[in-house]
């Protein structure tokens, strides 16, 4: 399905209203509001392991400036962060630490696996005795960004994809069904 016009692109961009059949209007609108807020204010944890961390820094810097999308406030403490960008490889000694960091983040939390190492082990897939073959062996990952290291534009695209993903969430309906 190709996107031909700007209008169609925008329609694809906001699938929230399309995806609700029935249900109460108030909760739907509330859902849309909360998702709008959440998707536009995702604060990453300052967490970098390998080369990708440098590209992550480049994304935060003047030329690429991720602050435009509301991803600005990189928090050093996991309690206040919303997202981990796993930038680099995770080894078996680091894996419990990463799991713990993920657990310390308050819900809702998101994970971006940046770079080949975090996606699959990358260059350390073969013959390495200590690298976990993909960070998704340790914590659930929302967005995968390939590349070694990915370009800053790729990470920005991942942010936009994450925004789209957050906008599809159903927070209140789930609670009602319970």
């Amino acid at each position: 399905m190709g996107i031909t016009s700007k209008k169609e692109f925008e329609k694809n961009d906001f699938p929230v209203l399309d995806s609700y059949e029935g249900g109460s209007i108030i909760l739907t609108q509330l859902d849309a509001l909360v998702n709008w807020a959440r998707s536009n204010s995702v604060w990453p944890l300052t967490f970098g392991t390998r080369c990708c961390a440098i590209e992550f820094m480049a994304v935060g810097a003047s030329r690429h400036d991720m602050a435009r999308f509301g991803y600005e406030v990189a928090r050093a403490t996991p309690r206040q962060a919303d997202m981990i960008i796993i930038s680099g490889s995770i080894n078996y000694k680091m894996a419990p630490v990463l799991k713990r960091l993920y657990d310390q983040i308050a819900d809702p939390k998101y994970v971006i696996a940046m770079g080949a190492c975090a996606v699959s082990g990358g260059p350390f897939y073969y013959n390495s005795y200590s690298i976990v073959k993909g960070a998704d062996h340790v914590i659930p990952v929302d967005i995968y960004v390939p590349g070694c290291p990915p370009r800053p534009e790729a990470l920005l695209y991942a942010f936009l994809q994450l925004q789209k993903k957050i906008k599809r969430e159903k927070n209140f309906k789930k609670q009602l069904k319970k």
Partner: protein, 362 residues
């Protein structure tokens, strides 16, 4: 004068009259309290969020970036999105914390700006509490905030928090002195502690110009000490990110963290407002000697606008500090206070007293 037409006193008076004629005096008081409370709550929420946005834009400008752009026009809705997100975020209470104090701390911190803001005259007639000890009240109440910070540091059961809390305690207790003394210097000049009267006294010229040398010294000291008291860079040791992750609020998440965040910015506003009132004539317009035409044009601008213009000027100055200077070390901060600012202040009070006594001011 021309700007008297922007006086809010008739409006507040008419509301008061209408209420007191129709309902009992007790109910009048309750209704007025409620209105004022709601108004201040709204003001703090909206203005706090706006200051966060302003800080982001200012720092982006310093860093040759754009800052928030995508959420609303020019990213204006960014902080609202942040606020809703923080509101909806999970509140984690770690297992080993002192639960009562841990939950109490953010409220103590947020109460302080509510108390201090009550004596600030935004415009003629737009002030809820007009004590005769207004300045004294501000200095007394603003030191309550440190208790919240200390509690947060202690109750979090985290070593980073504890170090941050202790740093903050040492720092704020020290800099309270400088803030108080620089205000007292100006109180000597004014001869009163009543905030509205201090503003009224500056009708002929701002105290910064009236008191010339000692007033300038007091102003400089006040801005430095005020920056330190609000825990902002370069004095942000309590939450020094590269050393203590997030300092005293390391363990706080969601809206409790937002309280700390908001309180910091409202405190910033209060420091700027106090500097405006005491040194820059509050809502008084800028007048220049005998230039009647110029003065009339200045009078045309409402007092509320004047007040916020001055406040934003000082807030911008303090933001400028933050985004330019590296952070000090704890012993350097205390050295700065006890070895430099405090002696300068004591000397300055003497100078001001002599000057007032001999009538060497305009």
């Amino acid at each position: 004068m021309a700007f008297e037409k922007y006086d809010f006193t008739p409006i507040t008076q008419s509301i008061h009259q209408a209420l007191i004629e129709n309902v009992s005096p007790l109910l009048t008081t309750i209704i007025e309290w409620t209105i004022i409370g709601v108004l201040y709550l709204l003001f703090i929420a909206v203005f706090g969020l706006f200051l966060v946005y302003a800080e982001r834009k200012v720092c982006a400008a310093f860093q040759q970036r754009l800052g928030p752009m995508r959420v609303g026009p020019w990213g204006l809705l960014q902080t609202i999105a942040d606020f809703i997100k923080l509101l909806m975020k999970e509140l984690i209470t770690p297992k080993s914390v002192d639960k009562f104090l841990y939950n109490l701390a953010p409220f103590i911190v947020i109460i302080v700006p509510f108390l201090t803001i009550s004596v600030i005259p935004f415009a003629p007639g737009l002030q809820s509490l007009d004590f005769d000890i207004g300045i004294f009240f501000v200095t007394a109440v603003s030191s309550v905030g440190v208790i919240g910070v200390l509690l947060a540091g202690w109750a979090s059961n985290n070593k980073y928090s504890l170090i941050g809390g202790m740093r903050s305690g040492a720092q704020i207790v020290s800099y309270e002195l400088s803030v108080g003394m620089s205000l007292i210097t100006m109180v000597i000049l004014a001869g009163t502690m009543q905030v509205s009267e201090i503003v009224e006294l500056q009708r002929g010229g701002w105290f910064l110009f009236k008191g010339h040398i000692p007033a300038l010294i007091a102003f400089t000291v006040f801005v430095i000490a005020g920056t330190a008291e609000t825990n902002r860079g370069p004095f942000d040791l309590a939450e020094a990110e590269s050393e203590l992750t997030a300092g005293f609020h390391t363990e706080y998440s969601g809206i409790k963290f937002a309280f700390f965040f908001l309180a910091e910015y409202i405190n910033l506003f209060i420091v700027a407002a106090m500097a405006t009132i005491v040194f820059l004539g509050g809502w008084m317009p800028f007048h220049f000697g005998d230039w009647a035409a110029f003065n009339n044009v200045m009078d045309f601008i409402p007092g509320l606008v004047w007040f916020f213009l001055k406040v934003f000027g000082i807030i911008f100055l303090i933001m400028w500090f933050k985004w330019t200077f590296p952070r000090l070390r704890i012993d350097q901060i205390l050295t700065l206070e006890w070895k430099y600012l405090l002696p300068i202040n004591l000397f300055n009070i003497l100078l001001m007293a002599t000057m007032v006594l001999l009538g060497w001011h305009w």
